[in-house]
């Protein structure tokens, strides 16, 4: 037993008697951890801000206008298409989605209370596309002057269900304000990095920004629920054969086609990857330099009878210790910093993303140190006599 603990003893004593040196390398790992966790949170925050509404949709497929390249802004569908899609066998329900944006006048009377920029989504209560209501009620009719807002709107404006909000949109000649009653609250729903205000689709048509001459109501998307979600691929192919001038996308395909979404996510993934690589190189460099400095000492240790595995285990134990301490410090610092972030910053810590980041961080130590471990394990005991074979 003592024999097996000897490498751990050596690793521990070396760290204890060189606290500053090992603490500094842990600190570096802590900084890398902080960076990786923030990049992951930023990817989650930005991605979520773009994707949230689409990814939470209670629908299996989205209908776009043909040749819109899955660009929601470029997709314009007359309301009549909804009926055509609904009649396709295998479709259970359809719902309209119309997209625009505006601002809500801030009722808070502080000088920095700017209007809140929001996405205005026209939907129909009870149909796919409408959000689940977590308090209050859905719209009473399709043209009622009502709104359902997501929780961020409530938080930022300090309003509640039952209050009135003033929505300001551009009407060509200038901004116009529309008074709406907040009837319901939805869970987090963002679109285009903006919090969402849901309007009944005909109210939406009245409120939406209009730059040109008054055009008839066009939807951007139609949300489709299938009788059997397993038929997704078949239905995706079938609908355009029965409804003219449309193209289809699944949910994931739809949000990945959001402008800049993929580019943004891959940029952040690349940053995270390179930060991890830097971590690997930093740890690798540190332990390799240390291994080089320790050649005479390790040679001596092996000459007096320490087995190669002992030297390797001692090296691995140190690397794991230093990495775990670094990741704990970095994780703690991230938690502290996260609580001080002002609202509205697109940084979102999710358990899943953080766990994935931490697991990858725990690997950078052993990966970075692998060369030095191998190097130390191969040092010849003959070195103790100043010889080599």
């Amino acid at each position: 037993m003592q024999v097996f603990l000897t490498p751990l003893y050596l690793a521990q004593m070396e760290v204890l008697r060189n606290k500053v040196r090992f603490f500094l390398i842990s600190l570096l790992i802590a900084l890398i951890t902080l960076l990786v966790l923030f990049i992951a949170a930023l990817a989650e925050g930005l991605g979520g801000g773009n994707r949230e509404y689409i990814s939470k949709l209670d629908a299996d497929l989205l209908v776009y206008k043909a040749d819109s390249d899955l660009l929601i802004a470029a997709s314009r569908l007359p309301r009549s298409v909804m009926n055509q899609v609904r009649r396709v066998t295998g479709v259970r329900a359809v719902g309209p989605i119309a997209v625009s944006n505006g601002a809500i006048d801030n009722p808070l009377e502080t000088p920095d209370a700017d209007p809140l920029r929001v996405a205005l989504l026209g939907v129909e209560a009870g149909l796919p596309g409408a959000p689940p209501i977590i308090s209050g009620s859905p719209f009473s009719t399709n043209r009622a002057p009502e709104a359902v807002v997501e929780r961020r709107v409530i938080q930022r404006l300090g309003i509640k269900v039952g209050d009135r909000i003033s929505i300001r949109t551009n009407q060509g000649s200038g901004d116009e304000t529309f008074e709406l009653l907040v009837v319901g609250l939805s869970d987090g729903e963002q679109y285009g990095l903006q919090p969402v205000v849901f309007l009944p689709v005909l109210t939406w048509d009245r409120v939406r920004s209009k730059t040109g001459p008054n055009s008839p109501l066009n939807l951007n998307l139609i949300a489709v629920q299938l009788e059997n979600p397993k038929d997704l691929a078949a239905m995706k192919a079938l609908i355009p054969t029965q409804v003219k001038d449309v193209e289809m996308a699944g949910i994931r395909e739809a949000y990945e086609a959001l402008p800049g979404y993929k580019e943004q996510q891959s940029t952040l993934d690349t940053q995270r990857f390179f930060t991890l690589i830097i971590g690997v190189l930093v740890i690798g460099g540190f332990f390799q330099i240390q291994a080089l400095q320790k050649v005479p000492q390790v040679g001596m240790l092996k000459a007096i009878g320490a087995a190669n595995w002992m030297v390797a285990v001692a090296a691995i134990a140190q690397i794991i210790l230093v990495t775990v301490i670094g990741v704990l410090l970095g994780g703690g610092a991230t938690l502290l910093l996260a609580t001080t972030l002002p609202p509205g910053i697109p940084i979102v810590f999710t358990g899943q993303a953080a766990v994935a980041a931490i697991v990858s961080l725990l690997f950078i130590g052993p990966i970075g140190g692998a060369i030095s471990i191998r190097y130390a394990a191969r040092i010849e005991p003959l070195k103790a006599l100043g010889m080599s074979s």
Partner: protein
């Protein structure tokens, strides 16, 4: 095999290739060291002393010939067995880098017992006693960097003896010491070899140090040039100077 012989070699050869020329760094050496005997290995630089020592300690495989320690032939052992053999049956001191820099004097000595899984209360007490015997009772908790070269060598001697090895091998232990310290170190070393009944071999180029040995093997070009056995011969050789 003779009663009391702890270490012996038979026609030990180590060949190296140099510029396509084969030459023997150690050229067929046979010797025997009994338990409690302290043997000096001297000779000019390049005469094969360290090479011989490396073979005696199972660090280097002979080209031909045998090393027998405690009745075991080192050539019959696997690599793993040789590591274990060094850990259990050999005590070492080296010219430099003898100690683990982040362990104290006491911890360095105890490490030898730890490696063998034998560190217990009695072992700790023996380690302290041995260090005290070497004049280091007030240095037990000093790191090597806080000790002089002579003190470090004495810690290494304690480590070389603490686990009751069959043979104790010392490679130039006085190389970095001044004369007075060198004498102190080798004298104590000799006393302990005799007391603990170990077979001791000390490699030195400083002929004055061999006054403390029982027999001197003088090497030249891989061969035994001469063996000094009587006290008079050894004294005379030692008086011939620092070497």
């Amino acid at each position: 095999m003779n009663e009391g012989i702890a270490l012996s070699t038979e026609s030990l050869v180590k060949s190296y290739e140099l510029d396509g020329q084969k030459f023997n760094a150690v050229n067929g050496i046979s010797l025997a060291v009994t338990a409690g005997e302290f043997v000096g290995l001297v000779g000019p630089s390049g005469s094969g002393k360290t090479t011989l020592l490396a073979m005696l300690s199972a660090l280097l495989t002979p080209t031909t010939g045998k090393v027998i320690i405690d009745g075991s032939n080192l050539s019959d052992m696997s690599d793993k067995q040789r590591v274990e053999f060094r850990r259990k049956r050999v005590g070492f001191t080296f010219q430099a880098n003898n100690l683990i820099p982040y362990l104290t004097a006491l911890e360095n000595v105890e490490l030898m017992l730890r490696l063998n899984g034998e560190l217990n209360a009695a072992g700790r007490a023996r380690s302290r006693d041995l260090l005290a015997r070497l004049g280091l009772s007030d240095r037990l908790h000093n790191l090597p960097s806080q000790m002089s070269g002579g003190q470090q060598q004495r810690v290494a001697i304690a480590r070389a003896l603490i686990h009751n090895p069959a043979v104790v091998l010392a490679d130039e232990p006085t190389a970095s010491l001044d004369t007075e310290r060198a004498h102190q170190v080798v004298e104590t070393f000799a006393q302990l070899i005799h007391e603990h009944k170990r077979a001791g071999v000390i490699v030195t180029h400083d002929l004055r140090m061999i006054t403390y040995t029982d027999r001197v093997i003088q090497m030249r070009d891989g061969d035994v040039a001469r063996i000094y056995t009587s006290r008079e011969e050894i004294k005379e050789l030692a008086a011939s100077g620092p070497g």
